[in-house]
């Protein structure tokens, strides 16, 4: 169970929110000009990192606004939440820069 801080309403139980996957995906500006592989990648390919993940949540049982969360998928620790349009804050999650999918965590999963 996570405690999530809605940028507008404050900290609430996860059960008030819905999850909507990887954030900051860019829809190709001219869909007719991309090929099937590029369109498929936009629709379906995901980073799915073991480490920092920028993701979209919606305060479904609250203000119903969308926002972004920066979370470490190795231990579910939330580093920040921020409004759409804001850029993700820089955080130091130890040995992971958020772009690297590699398993830099030699320890066993908890």
């Amino acid at each position: 169970m996570l405690l999530i801080k809605c940028p507008w309403c404050g900290t609430r139980d996860m059960s008030e929110f819905s999850y909507h996957g990887e954030a900051h995906l860019l829809r190709p500006p001219a869909p007719a000009e991309v090929d099937d592989a590029q369109w498929g990648a936009y629709l379906f390919a995901r980073k799915n990192p073991k480490g920092l993940h920028r993701e979209r949540w919606m305060h479904a049982h609250g203000c119903r606004r969308w926002f972004n969360v920066l979370r470490d998928t190795r231990d579910d620790r939330i580093y920040a939440t921020y409004r759409p349009g804001d850029s993700p804050p820089d955080v130091d999650a130890g040995d992971d820069n958020g772009e690297n999918n590699g398993d830099n965590n030699p320890g066993n999963p908890t």
Binding site: L2, D36, W39, F44, K47, P49, K50, D103, P109, T110
Partner: protein, 417 residues
């Protein structure tokens, strides 16, 4: 080659006279060689089965299985062991039923008791929509030559006398697959490991792949915590960690990883002799041979590798179980755990070549791949050996996400396992 004990009633009796002191190891503790014809990454059931069929049916015996932890320590040893093939689409029906047919002879083939028990599997329907879904799927399955029967609530009650048919979500009917059931998950990993080892496959535990050797877009081997291991072909069968390995090789997969939990109760006298699942209230339950009730929860909503899972998922699953089976209300739960499952949007697996030549992936089995273990290993071995997809595997290539030819098993697979 390793000369294993052949297991039989006679070997059991002979070893009993010795107080079971001199059983041979089930597989060698192999040390990695510098190079192999094929390296399989991931020592779960699918990876071990792949190695076995490579050696057994494809004549490729210079094979190593590299496992970062212990055999079956991933989802293979964490699942609720349900086996069935009642999927909607032709492609899935063919693949999953191929697996069920292999299950039916597996203990004899491996000389290892995988305790495959075709005790029958009920999929409950609770509303008009469910009834239409099982009606449509039941007929599609039947038309594919796979057993499937529609049951009335009264017939359900005969099979599970203590079920509450009149809960808030009443039971209106069910789809029954009599050939469905359960198997012992650890035994599947160990049985394949032992049989593969006997054919010359090196099984190497505590060996984590940390990168790939790639030269001119062709795989040359794997980087591991025990040094570089050369390979002409590499097959990755790492379930929840497939995106991590794909990233090492420089591409992305249409997959997200989430925790999925299960739990078992204290052991009871035999009370439930079939598997019962309900997608609508999300409860699935069976009883192990040890007597524990085995209960599966839903997956968490968000990507995670924490292998822990949220408490809310368990609470939800147990509420549903108690609504359907009030007699379990005073049972104590013994253990809870999670695995990291690799989920695709169409809930169908990926068995596929990749942008890197001679590097193959078999993943995306998500919440329901245990049942497919023998079939998955069998077709994947052919893909690796021949460098082209087995006909049963071809529709499951990553290409389907570019062509839009998804194999949507949401109804058959999304919540049920």
């Amino acid at each position: 080659m390793n000369k294993p004990n052949r297991y039989s009633v006679f070997s059991l009796a002979r070893h009993a006279l010795n107080y079971h002191q001199d059983w041979a190891r089930a597989w060698r503790n192999a040390q990695p060689k510098r190079e192999y014809e094929a390296v399989i990454v991931g020592g779960g059931g699918h990876g071990l089965a792949t190695a076995y069929y490579l050696a057994r049916e494809c004549g490729v015996r210079d094979v190593a299985v590299l496992e970062k932890g212990w055999l079956g320590g991933g989802n293979t040893g964490r699942n609720t062991t349900i086996v069935r093939s009642n999927y909607l689409w032709d492609e899935s029906a063919a693949l999953y039923d191929h697996a069920v047919k292999l299950w039916e002879g597996l203990s004899a083939e491996l000389n290892y008791n995988v305790m495959f028990s075709q005790r029958g599997l009920l999929h409950l329907a609770h509303n008009v929509h469910d009834m239409q879904e099982i009606g449509r799927r039941g007929c599609a399955i039947y038309a594919n030559g796979i057993d499937s029967e529609l049951l009335t609530p009264a017939q359900v009650k005969t099979m599970v006398p203590f079920i509450n048919l009149d809960g808030r979500q009443p039971v209106l009917g069910a789809l029954l697959q009599r050939r469905g059931g359960t198997a012992r998950h650890d035994a599947v990993a160990w049985g394949y490991a032992r049989a593969a080892d006997a054919l010359g496959v090196d099984i190497i535990q505590n060996c984590e792949v940390t990168g790939f050797g790639i030269d001119a877009n062709r795989v040359t081997g794997v980087q591991t915590n025990r040094g570089f291991i050369g390979a002409r072909k590499v097959g990755c069968v790492v379930a929840g960690h497939c995106s991590v390995l794909a990233d090492m090789a420089g591409f992305r997969l249409p997959i997200e990883s989430t925790p999925l939990q299960a739990l078992v109760s204290e052991p009871l006298k035999p009370v439930l002799d079939c598997v019962v699942m309900s997608g609508t209230v999300h409860a699935y339950i069976s009883q192990s041979d040890k007597g524990e009730l085995v209960i599966g929860a839903g997956s968490d909503a968000y990507n995670s590798y924490s292998q822990r899972g949220g408490f809310d998922s368990i609470e939800h699953a147990l509420c549903a179980v108690l609504e359907l089976y009030p007699i379990f209300s005073r049972l104590k739960m013994l253990r809870q755990w999670a695995g990291i499952v690799d989920v695709t949007v169409d809930r169908s697996p990926l068995i596929t070549a990749t942008p890197v030549r001679n590097l193959f992936f078999n993943c995306g089995w998500g919440t329901g791949g245990f049942k497919a273990t023998p079939g998955s290993g069998h077709v994947f071995a052919h893909c690796i050996a021949r460098g082209e997809m087995h006909p049963l595997a071809a529709p499951f290539s990553i290409e389907r996400f570019n062509r839009g030819a998804l194999i949507d098993e949401g109804a058959a697979a999304a919540v049920a396992h």
